[in-house]
């Protein structure tokens, strides 16, 4: 499907936000965001609805202006510049295709508005249509296309502009699961091939984990954590990130409920401190955290067991073929699998979490 596509002539710039906030009449959408989205990287703004991720994208696009702060693209301050002067393209959640224009007219809309020569328009359309597999659909109207095809047209409209930055606002959320999985691979491939700087907004952590070079996790108008998918999964910076990343996400239980596990905890921790354990890190054992089995879900490849430990519940992921579990048993986990979060702020307690010499692995001991 994608054969003919040279990388961009211009190098893709980085996007830099410094102290960016956006206040509306009755709400604060963003409070003082500082983030750098590297050049040529696939950055994902990830968070629940209402966290401000779309607002940040619109500020970068120039469709909205920040209340305070500065947005720089390629080192140049963008304050007051209209979207067209920012040298970027955008894919909308609703696709924003012009319903009265054909696929070809939709893709060429920007070029014809900017009065690009006819011959060049035709050449670029030919190239992009072949790249996106739209050659046979060029004469159709958007209403005659499936959701996936409309998505491709929206993408083609962004790609044909040959602008080095592409902003995407939940572009896959209206597609069915199978198509979404295909498009994830394809989007990533296009970004790599063209060397684009992509800023991608989503609430779907699977999309973020599979496509991103860099994930920016946002919550309530703030940035919770910035890092590679691996960093965010392995060392969540806050209880929020821990609960948000992973399918199923990390279980968080009260420190008090860890009693009897035989874990040698660092001294001076509040009993309300949150303990995070990933379902896939846990394993039944002869000794360790005593748990009671509550329910079990069969997922095909594996099983998800809901357990009770003290007053908390947690999840355990088992291979589908693993032996059946008794009603009461013990859990253990490898070194480094236990995460500690401050009960009040939700921040990761990094001073104590990493392995200390001696008993610091936070693993049940006999």
């Amino acid at each position: 499907m994608m054969q003919t596509s040279a990388p961009l002539a211009r190098p893709a710039p980085a996007i830099d936000c410094a102290g960016v906030s956006r206040r509306f009449d009755r709400a604060v959408a963003l409070q003082s965001i500082d983030v750098e989205l590297p050049a040529g990287a696939f950055s994902v703004l990830l968070g629940p609805s209402g966290c401000g991720k779309s607002t940040l994208l619109r500020l970068i696009a120039g469709l909205d202006a920040p209340t305070t702060g500065q947005i720089r693209i390629g080192g140049r301050d963008m304050a007051g510049l209209p979207p067209v002067a920012r040298d970027l393209s955008m894919v909308f959640q609703s696709y924003a295709l012009f319903p009265h224009l054909t696929v070809a007219q939709n893709i060429l809309f920007g070029l014809s508005v900017r009065r690009v020569a006819r011959a060049e328009q035709a050449a670029r359309l030919d190239r992009v249509a072949r790249m996106m597999g739209l050659e046979t659909l060029l004469a159709r109207k958007p209403a005659e296309l499936s959701g996936g095809q409309q998505q491709r047209v929206a993408l083609a409209r962004a790609v044909i502009s040959e602008r080095p930055i592409c902003l995407m606002d939940e572009p896959l959320s209206n597609l069915d699961a199978r198509l979404r999985a295909e498009m994830r691979v394809e989007l990533r491939a296009i970004q790599q091939r063209l060397g684009l700087t992509v800023v991608y907004v989503t609430h779907d952590q699977v999309e973020a984990m599979t496509m991103a070079d860099r994930i920016v996790v946002m919550n309530a108008g703030r940035i919770e954590q910035t890092g590679t998918p691996r960093e965010i999964y392995a060392t969540p910076a806050s209880a929020f990130v821990a609960r948000f990343i992973g399918t199923p996400p990390m279980s968080l239980i009260a420190l008090a409920d860890l009693a009897g596990a035989g874990v040698d905890l660092p001294p001076g921790l509040s009993p309300d401190t949150l303990v995070g354990l990933r379902p896939e890190d846990l394993a039944p054992a002869a000794r360790g955290l005593p748990v009671q089995r509550l329910a079990e879900e069969y997922l095909g490849a594996d099983r998800l067991v809901t357990l009770r430990a003290g007053a908390s519940t947690l999840l355990l992921r088992l291979a589908a073929g693993a032996p059946n579990l008794p009603d009461r048993f013990h859990l253990t986990w490898p070194p480094g699998a236990l995460h500690l979060f401050d009960a009040a702020t939700g921040r990761r307690l990094d001073a104590v979490s990493p392995a200390r010499p001696g008993a610091g692995t936070l693993v049940p001991t006999p």
Binding site: A61, L63, P82, P83, V84, L88, S89, M90, F92, Q93, S94, A96, F98, P99, H100, F109, G110, V113, R114, K141, A143, R157, S161
Partner: protein, 290 residues
Amino acid sequence: MPKREWIHAWLLLLPAFVFLIAFTHLPAVQTLIDSFWSTPKGRRPAVFVGGDNYARMLADPILAKALWNSAVYAALTIPASVVLALAMALLVQARFAGVALMRMAFFTPTVLPLIAVANIWLFFYAPGFGLIDQIRGLFGLPSVNLAGQPETALYAVAAVTVWKEAGFFMVFYLAALQAVPPALREAAAIEGCGRWTFFRRVTLPLIMPTTLFVTVNATINAFRLVDHVFVMTRGGPDNATMLLLYYVFENGFRYWDTAYAAALTILLVAILTVVGLGQFFAADRRVHYR
């Protein structure tokens, strides 16, 4: 039991049928029949005259005048009211302080009965002390009787129609404009599309169905809305504001020449049918329906 279902279906349709047939279809057919008969008078009943009533039209100078006036009236009021309606809708589609008041002001003429509107405009047009003459007086211009002189009477009547209709059509345009997704405007802004280009290339095509609907209505109204002619000019002066429908009324209910009025009515229906069909077939190819 298909038979019982059929009886139920007919019973449910019956009330609508009775009223439609009694007040629409029968009179229409009766009018068509009447147009081939002479007008019954006193002791002389109607006799079949064939196409005499229609032949009479060809030699009727007032009818020719009325047809010409109707054409001018339509050519003035249809584009003027549609363009004005779109302009007003564009003005009040945004949110700003006082927009509700402005929308109401634009819509008010629609709520008023045309007879009342005509009376208001008579005061505007009144020579000497009317609003228009007072404004003309400020600039030292002489008094004019806009509704009372043959050169301007038709335009004076047409202006009232435009004033009356534009607010009504504005509501349809307003609804159509609000239905254009804001994301389209943003997508266009990213491409560097200016306001005028966006209006011409996106907004205008997207509201074409409304334009067609509004134009058909304006066309029908151009032949149908004559209430203000009764109040303002009664077809005068010197038949300057004689419109086709008003001429039908004059023949039918002033001169009681019902047979000729019936024939004129058939002419009116024929014109409306041709114009309406033509509009749909001509416009349908260029209209994008969502």
